[in-house]
């Protein structure tokens, strides 16, 4: 192999790629935050006594978990606007798709976490006179977060990777910029390798943290 690796090109395209990285982060962090919040309320609905809350939330969760993310993103860009009558920007459609997808998965993590906390915790707190909302906030959720941290980190990592799918909607995120540059310069090896490295640098701290947490939690149990 006598391919001349063009390091100059990498340096030259770095600013554009980093701008793409910024958009990736703009997609990633909000969709996690929105997804976690929505997922929490979904999990409450999912475990509610009322079937009117339980059935739709179950339907929603399964819908997002049992269809490809790619179709979800494309659907929010091309199909959803027909229903609501407002065209969404590619970024908004991608953010919506990622956030709602995340909410469905986090709902199941929350549900598993809440159910894994022994009934005795509710009773111990209730016997003091605490209200259900206080018990959830002060006693149950802190323990759920601790116990489910590895699961939440894994989800965050998945979302970072999933965000690259937004490139099919021409959202100017990292993957999109990488594809654009590599076809502009006919230099996919340099550009796409650089893109992969940037993703790796973005995501690896998360997996590292998650593995450490898992080990620490396992050691405690």
């Amino acid at each position: 192999m006598n391919y001349q690796f063009d390091f100059g090109l990498i340096l030259q395209s770095l600013p554009v790629l980093l701008r793409g990285l910024l958009v990736t982060i703009e997609l990633w962090i909000p969709s996690i935050l929105i997804g976690l919040t929505a997922g929490f309320f979904l999990s409450l609905a999912r475990t509610s006594k009322s079937i009117a809350l339980r059935a739709p939330s179950l339907f929603y969760i399964e819908l997002f978990r049992d269809t490809p993310v790619l179709i979800q993103l494309i659907w929010f860009f091309y199909a959803f606007p027909i229903i609501i009558g407002v065209q969404l920007s590619p970024f908004t459609a991608a953010l919506l798709g990622l956030a709602l997808n995340t909410s469905a998965y986090s709902a199941e993590i929350f549900r598993g976490g809440i159910q894994s906390i022994a009934l005795g915790q509710w009773e111990g707190a209730r016997a003091l006179g605490m209200r259900n909302s206080q018990i959830l906030r002060r006693i149950i959720l802190p323990q759920v977060f601790k116990r489910m941290l590895p699961a939440f980190t894994n989800r965050a990592i998945e979302v970072a990777k999933m965000s690259s799918l937004a490139s099919v909607l021409s959202v100017h995120e990292l993957m999109y910029q990488g594809r654009l540059l590599s076809s502009t310069y006919y230099r996919p090896l340099e550009i796409l390798t650089t893109v992969a490295v940037i993703y790796f640098i973005l995501i690896y701290p998360g997996t590292w943290l998650s593995a450490r947490l898992e080990k620490r939690l396992a050691a405690k149990a």
Binding site: Q121, G124, L128, G129, R138
Partner: protein, 258 residues
């Protein structure tokens, strides 16, 4: 005569078709200490848990200081219990569980402060002072910063007692507080409960420790088949039971008492 601090009328509890408590009438005076004994599955825990509404009675009423808890709802003596009212009741009627139910993510001190902060809305400093006082009383002054997971069962149960005491409840409920402890740890918990008895607190205790019940209680109840089969002083119920059923139950214990 004074109004009893706690009164139960026609209390029924069913789990589906399973009729566990069958129309219990009972009252507790200020300063009384009641020991509840009976076979496994006879409904001792269920009775105790109806008093602070860990279980909702199927019908019948529970009154504190003459005031009935909840509002009538439905035709079969069912009642509706708003959360806010139950929270007030549970503030006044504390409970100590067999399994402690401490909060594992909080230190001993934080456990004892939690109800003061959230339920009584106290300031941190005031809550800390009160919690420290109660932890002193149960002999855990040196464990404030420990997490429950690091403590022995006996220590955990004493934290649970301090946590409950900090709320300054008018009545304390104990559901077999020593049954999940190793035998050598039972004593330290019983010592604390005896101390509370000396303070003249109103308490109800479900227990299999008949010896302790004898010395602790002012009144003993033998629960069987969902009714109070026999009620009397410790001497009456434990030494000279009138009912054949009570005698049979006690004999099963004395068989093992050397």
């Amino acid at each position: 005569m004074n109004e009893p601090i706690l009164r139960v009328t026609e209390l029924n509890k069913k789990f589906g078709e399973h009729h566990v408590l069958k129309g219990i009438d009972f009252s507790v005076e200020q300063g009384e200490r009641v020991a509840i004994i009976g076979g496994s599955g006879s409904g001792k825990s269920t009775f105790l848990r109806c008093l602070n509404f860990m279980e909702m009675p199927s019908s019948g009423t529970v009154s504190l200081d003459g005031k009935e808890i909840g509002k009538p709802a439905g035709k079969n003596g069912e009642r509706r219990y708003p959360e806010s009212e139950l929270c007030l009741v549970r503030e006044r009627v504390g409970m100590v569980f067999q399994q402690f139910n401490l909060f594992p993510h909080m230190t001993v001190l934080e456990n004892a402060m939690e109800g003061l902060l959230t339920v009584k809305g106290m300031k941190k400093e005031a809550a800390r002072d009160l919690a420290v006082k109660e932890l002193d009383k149960v002999g855990l002054a040196d464990k404030h910063d420990a997490y429950p997971g690091r403590l022995s069962g006996g220590q955990q149960q004493r934290v649970a007692i301090a946590r409950s005491l900090a709320m300054e409840p008018e009545i304390l409920l104990f559901d077999e507080p020593t049954s999940s402890l190793d035998p050598e740890l039972v004593g330290e918990v019983l010592v604390v409960i005896r101390k509370l008895a000396e303070e003249g607190r109103t308490m109800l205790l479900v227990t299999h420790e008949l010896g302790f019940a004898y010395h602790f209680a002012t009144k003993v109840i033998f629960l069987a088949d969902g009714v109070f089969h026999e009620v009397g002083t410790p001497a009456e119920v434990l030494k000279n039971p009138k009912q054949e059923r009570t005698r049979a139950f006690l004999n099963r214990f004395t068989e093992f008492a050397f």
